[in-house]
Symmetry: C2
Subunit: 354 residues, 2 copies
Amino acid sequence: MAEEKNQDLYSAFAIMEQGGPVKDFTYTPIPLRPDEVEIKIAACGVCHSDLHQQNNDWRIAKYPLVVGHEIIGHVINVGSEVSELKKGQRVGVGPQTGNCGNCSECHRGQQQFCPTKDKSYNSATGNDKQPMTYGGFAEKIRVKAAWVFPIPDGLPTNQAAPLLCAGVTTWTPFVRYGVTIGSKVGIVGLGGLGHVGLQFAVKMGCDTYAISTSPSKAEEAKGYGAGFINSKEAKDLEAHKGSFDFLLSTISANGVNWNQYLDLLRPDGKLCMVGLPGDFSVSPGKIVCRRLTVCGSYLANNQEIRDMLKFCAAHDITAAVEVLPMTAENCNVALAKIHNNSVRYRMVLERTTL
Amino acid sequence: MAEEKNQDLYSAFAIMEQGGPVKDFTYTPIPLRPDEVEIKIAACGVCHSDLHQQNNDWRIAKYPLVVGHEIIGHVINVGSEVSELKKGQRVGVGPQTGNCGNCSECHRGQQQFCPTKDKSYNSATGNDKQPMTYGGFAEKIRVKAAWVFPIPDGLPTNQAAPLLCAGVTTWTPFVRYGVTIGSKVGIVGLGGLGHVGLQFAVKMGCDTYAISTSPSKAEEAKGYGAGFINSKEAKDLEAHKGSFDFLLSTISANGVNWNQYLDLLRPDGKLCMVGLPGDFSVSPGKIVCRRLTVCGSYLANNQEIRDMLKFCAAHDITAAVEVLPMTAENCNVALAKIHNNSVRYRMVLERTTL
C-alpha cells in the first residue's frame, strides 16, 4: 500500500497570512516518532476557533497555518512503541495531541491544562523544518498514540468528526459539575456546540431546554427531545425563573445580560461557560444570596474524551453537519459560512479522494 | 425566679427611623408559642448588616428596628412542645430563626434559602401588636427551638456570639465547595468575617493566607497561623500566581480588580464571595480556559451551624472582640465604629445587668 511508505510530502490547505484565504500547501512532515501513528484523514470538522486563528484574534497564530482539529481518519502507520492502535483502525484527533506528563495538571489527570501541551496545529514542534504543527485541513497527520481516539463502530465519520472538539467541549461540564439524571438543564445558544450538548443532556435523563434568541430553532430543539425558551421573551424567562440546576452557555457575544441567566437558576444552580464572550458582568448579590456558581470548562481530559465517544455510540449522538469535499475553495467557503453564522450546525470537510 | 414569669414588656434598643440613632425602646412580645423558648440575652455581636439595615441600604427595613443577630443567652422559659432545650441552658441565635418546612429548599435541607424563612429581626410576625420581629439589642428574645443552638462548654460567651453570623457565614463555603486538608486557601479581607474564616482554614489543615490591602495585619495573620499577601503589591501576587485552590472573599468594596484574584487560582480553583460588593466583572477567558469557579455563600443550614459550633469548641476558635455594655449609647458607638471600619474585629454588646 502506498500509504505505508513514509512519504516526504503532505498535501494540505493553509492560511498563509493573517486574515488571508486558505490556499493549497504542501509540507514535509517530521519523521514518524516511535510513540506516534500516522493517520490518513477522512474528514475534518470546522470550528469557530479555526476562524479566530485565521484572523489571529488571539494573537497566537503562526503562519502558514493549517487549521482543523476535528479529525477522523484511519491509521496507516504505527510507531515502534505503539501497541494499542493498529493499521486500518478508524480513529479521531482533537485539539490536543500531547501532554508533558510531568506537571501538576498532568499528575492530577487534567492534561488539558498542561501548560506545554501539544496541539493539533499552531503548536511548536522544536524542529527547524516544520516549526509548527499542521492540523486537519490536510491529507495526513502524525499524532502521539495516547491522543488518538478509537471511533466506536456505528458512529458515521462525517457526523462524528465534530465530536472531537464540540463533543469534547460540551461533555466535560456535565461530568465536572455534577449534572445528573433529573437535573433541569438549559443549553444557551443552539449552534455547533449547543446542539451536541443538548443531546448529552437529553440522553442523560435531564429535563432539558434549548435557550436561544432564534425562535426558528424551537422545532429543532423539540426534535432533539428538549423544550425551548426564547431568551428575548420576558414571559418565557419568567415562567422558568429560579428553576434551573445547570445552564451551559455556548454563546460568545459581547454585552450579554448575564443577570437574566442567573435569574433562571435555583439556589446552588450553576452557569457554565464554554463559549467565550468578550466580557462578563453580574450583580454579585445574585451569586451570594442564592449561592450560585459561575464557572467554565475547557476541553477534556484524555479519559473523558474516550467516555464521551462511547456514550455517543451508545446513544446515537452525532453532529448535524453540512459536508463539502476538502478543497482549498471549500475550506474558504466553510470559514465564510461560520463567519456569517449560517451553518446548521457544523461544517465538515470530507477527504473524498487522495 | 422573676425570669420565669411571662413578662409583658421587654426592654430593648431600637432604631426608630431610617438613619436614626438607637434609642431606648420597650415592646410587648407575642405570647410564647409551644415550639419556642424564651432567652435572656447575655451578649449580642454587631454585624455590618445591622448598619445596612439602620440606613435601609437594602430597602427592606421596617422601623422601629431592633437589630442584632449574633445572640448568646440562657433559656428562661420553654414552650410546651420543646423537649431538646432546658431552662438555664446557654444557647445561641443567629440571623435565621425559622423555616417553612414545606418548600423545595427546606425539603433538600438548605433552609437558609427558604423564601419565607423567619429572621431574628425585621421579619413579619403576622401579629398586629408586634408586626415585626425584634433582634438581639434587647433584654430577651423568643425563638423557635429548632433555631436555637446549644453553645458548647468552653466557648466564652462574648467571643462566641459573633460565631452565630460571622462563623455561620464563613463555615459553609468550606463545606459546600470541597475545601479540605492540604488545600491552599486565601481569605480576602481580614475583618469580622475574615478573621473567623482564617481560623477555620488553618485548623482544617489548609495552607492558609490572609490577603489584604493592610500590611499592618500581617502580624495578626501570622498569629493565627496563616501567611500574608499584600494585595496592593504586584510581587506578592506574582509569587502566588496560579497556586490557590480556594479564595474566600469577605470584601464588600466596589470597583475591585477581580481579575487579579482569578489569576491567583490554579485550574479548577474557586473564588467564593461572602462579602457583598456592588459590582462584579471579570474576563470570561480566565474562567473558561482554566476552568475557574466564581461562587457565593449565604448563611448555613441548620446542621452546619451546629457542626460549626462544635468545631469551634474543639479547636479553640473564637472571634476577636471589643466589648461594651449594652446601652443605647453604646449601640450607637458600636455602629459608628463599624461605619468607620475601626473594629478589630467584631463589636459585642454585653448585657451585664438586668
